[in-house]
């Protein structure tokens, strides 16, 4: 990569459309192609190639891959459990994450910055440590875990523990997806609605929410996808009881460790298909969201 390849000062402004290019010197053309080539090569080798290979191999065997995936012992239960828990996680965090983003953007109160920092903590902590933390808090040797246990609430080695781990890991995804949209909202539109007689709740529903929707949906889908694939935070907390607390990602590692890479690949392909569709949907939503706000 030569010095000239990194910057092209005469490229048209983003959003300026593909109008006629100003004089393109040989050097800037080289620079553009150098940058473009580097980017394409990097993403091509690192992301596109492995994805294509796996998709080709996974779906190449057609329906049989799915049959394999679903006949693998425990796989069906694991996938259902994973999808359901991911959906519940996304739903809960969409509600509380949106509320949290709203409070962080709109209200001024002591400790607001601290709260904002704490929301980012799950990004910073290794997911496995999240599991360790939950076990330290809710395990039977901790006072909290012991107390809950006496009242018949089991967190560790139960679905509740998995849910808590997933909620923890995905919270910042939703908050950070909604926050920028909220920041860009014109508050006088809300005032206009209030002057016209709309209540607080109606104003939120009819004026604020329609604009937040793309952000909320994108954040929710990201959270869902992340929860679908989460391993580190779950593995220590879940106890991995087949049909009860064994999630699909954990099942895949067990299959690999058990020397059954074909079965693992089948389950992985199914999970991958779900995630891939999700990304496409999210991209589409974000694209339309951007169009609407610009």
């Amino acid at each position: 990569m030569s010095a000239q390849t990194l910057e092209r000062p005469s490229v048209p402004r983003p959003g300026g459309g593909a109008g006629p290019r100003p004089w393109v010197t040989v050097r800037t053309a080289m620079a553009r192609w150098g940058l473009r080539g580097t980017a394409l090569l990097y993403l091509g080798l690192m992301i596109v190639l492995p994805t294509v290979v796996v998709v080709a191999r996974g779906f190449g065997s057609g329906v049989s891959a799915f049959r394999d995936a679903l006949t693998t012992p425990g796989a069906q239960e694991a996938i259902v459990l994973t999808v359901v828990l991911a959906a519940v996680t996304a739903l809960i965090n969409v509600v509380f994450g949106t509320e949290l983003a709203y409070v962080l953007v709109r209200y001024r109160f002591p400790g607001r910055r601290l709260l904002s920092t704490i929301v980012d903590i799950p990004f910073a902590i290794p997911t496995l440590v999240t599991g360790v933390m939950l076990r330290a808090l809710y395990g039977p040797i901790s006072p909290v875990g012991a107390f809950l246990g006496r009242h018949g609430i089991q967190v560790i080695f139960a679905q509740l523990g998995i849910l808590l781990a997933l909620l923890f890991v995905t919270l910042p995804l939703v908050v950070r997806a909604v926050q920028p949209v909220l920041l860009e909202l014109d508050e006088t539109e809300e005032e206009a609605a209030r002057v016209l007689g709309a209540s607080r709740w109606l104003t939120f529903r009819r004026v604020v929410f329609p604009k937040l929707r793309p952000g909320i949906v994108a954040g929710g889908l990201l959270a869902f996808a992340r929860a679908l694939g989460e391993f580190g935070a779950v593995v220590i907390v879940s106890g991995n009881i087949i049909g009860k607390t064994l999630t699909a990602p954990v099942l895949i590692t067990q299959l690999i460790n058990g020397g059954k890479p074909e079965d693992a690949a089948a389950v992985a392909t199914l999970l991958f298909g779900l995630s891939f569709v999700l990304v496409l949907v999210t991209e589409r939503l974000l694209a339309t969201g951007r169009k609407e706000t610009s």
Partner: protein, 358 residues
């Protein structure tokens, strides 16, 4: 259907900053009242408090016989037009106008009828399905007005409604709003920093400065009989001459100007002189009493602005029709006659002079 607005002893404090300091005035039923002042004078705050968007620190608000002070925004049912339109960007024109009706659960059929009426009124009938970003600034502001009027408010509050538009569109809309108001007769309170707008549209003008009211009066009174130095300096342009009060006149150097009968003998004073109240004579001294030198001449179309230097160094600006310019040329010695001047105590005049310069 229209109702007077009465504001009593209204104050609003933002932390340490006192934006509005005990303001009292009445906007008469069916008239347009303008709140005029420079930015930061507190006029927009007064409007927002009347609408219920901000809560007053103290004071009371009435619309007709009903006290509004303790009501929420949505209970007050005012029409409010925002400076930057604040249309709902995700709704089209018709949905925007219908919003205030739909939140009050007006039947769909009546909503449609009212929207059609208003589209006609603001001359945008062909635009009902457009979105705000497909409209020009002037069209957006008309939609905003239609939206505010749709629920038939008893009062209409306009916050710098033409502030974001360019000069030509502003002129057109001003005339159009004047016609519209004649037709509807809804009590209107207009916040503006544009004196032309206030003087042209309003029946009464409330001039505000640093959170307090300087003067309340008809446009004519405000312009021709300013009550304070600030009003004299802010409304219309004026030259300021510094001097002392001698026998009811302001004396500077060997010259004097009348209009200081209300001031104490011997104190320092400032005289405000409108450019069109200055008459300039070239040649012999017949009518004029002041001697001056022409320093600069700027043409304003059919008028010319002449900057004159008085013997004691002070500057006086005159505006003359071009056909009276004969003999008035750069460097010429001329005689000046002041048709009218307003004198104020020097202390009050300091801020006004700054405004007049700016």
């Amino acid at each position: 259907m229209s109702t007077p607005i009465r504001v009593e002893g209204l104050s609003k404090r933002f932390g340490e900053f006192e934006a509005v300091k005990g303001v009292t005035f009445t906007a008469e039923a069916g008239s347009i009242t303008a709140l005029l002042g420079p930015s930061g004078s507190g006029k927009s705050t007064v409007l927002r408090v009347i609408a219920g968007l901000d809560a007053p620190t103290s004071g009371r608000i009435w619309m007709g016989d009903e006290e509004q002070t303790f009501k929420t925004v949505q209970e007050r049912r005012v029409g409010f037009v925002f400076q930057h339109y604040s249309l709902f960007r995700h709704m089209n024109v018709a949905q925007n106008i219908a919003f205030g009706l739909s939140v009050r659960k007006v039947p769909k059929h009546d909503q449609r009828k009212r929207v059609d009426e208003l589209l006609e009124l603001v001359q945008l009938s062909g635009f009902r399905d457009r979105y705000p970003d497909q409209l020009s600034g002037g069209q957006r502001q008309r939609v905003a007005l239609a939206r505010a009027l749709a629920p038939r408010p008893k009062v209409l509050l306009l916050d710098e409604p033409f502030g974001a538009l360019d000069a030509r569109v502003r002129q057109d809309l001003r005339r159009w709003l004047d016609d519209l108001h004649r037709e509807l007769g809804v009590t209107s309170l207009l916040v503006t920093h544009d004196q032309d707008e206030a003087l042209e549209l309003a029946n009464r003008v409330v001039v505000m400065h640093e959170g307090s009211i300087e003067q309340v009066g008809s446009p004519n009174e405000i312009y021709n009989d300013p009550a304070t130095a600030f009003v004299a300096g802010f409304v219309g342009s004026a030259s300021v001459l510094h001097g002392h009060v001698v026998e009811g006149h302001v004396q500077f150097g060997e010259h004097r100007v009348g209009g200081a009968g209300h001031l104490e003998e011997g104190t320092e004073a400032r005289a405000f002189v409108r450019p069109h109240d200055v008459r300039v004579f070239a040649g012999d001294r017949t009518g004029g009493s002041l001697e001056a030198t022409v320093e600069r001449i700027t043409t304003l179309g059919w008028l010319s602005r002449v900057m004159l230097r008085l013997p004691d160094g002070q500057v006086l600006t005159a505006e003359l029709p071009n056909d009276e310019l004969e003999g008035v040329e750069l460097g010429a010695r001329v005689w000046v006659d002041l048709r009218r001047a307003r004198a104020f105590q020097a202390r009050d005049a300091v801020t006004a002079a700054i405004v007049a310069d700016g």
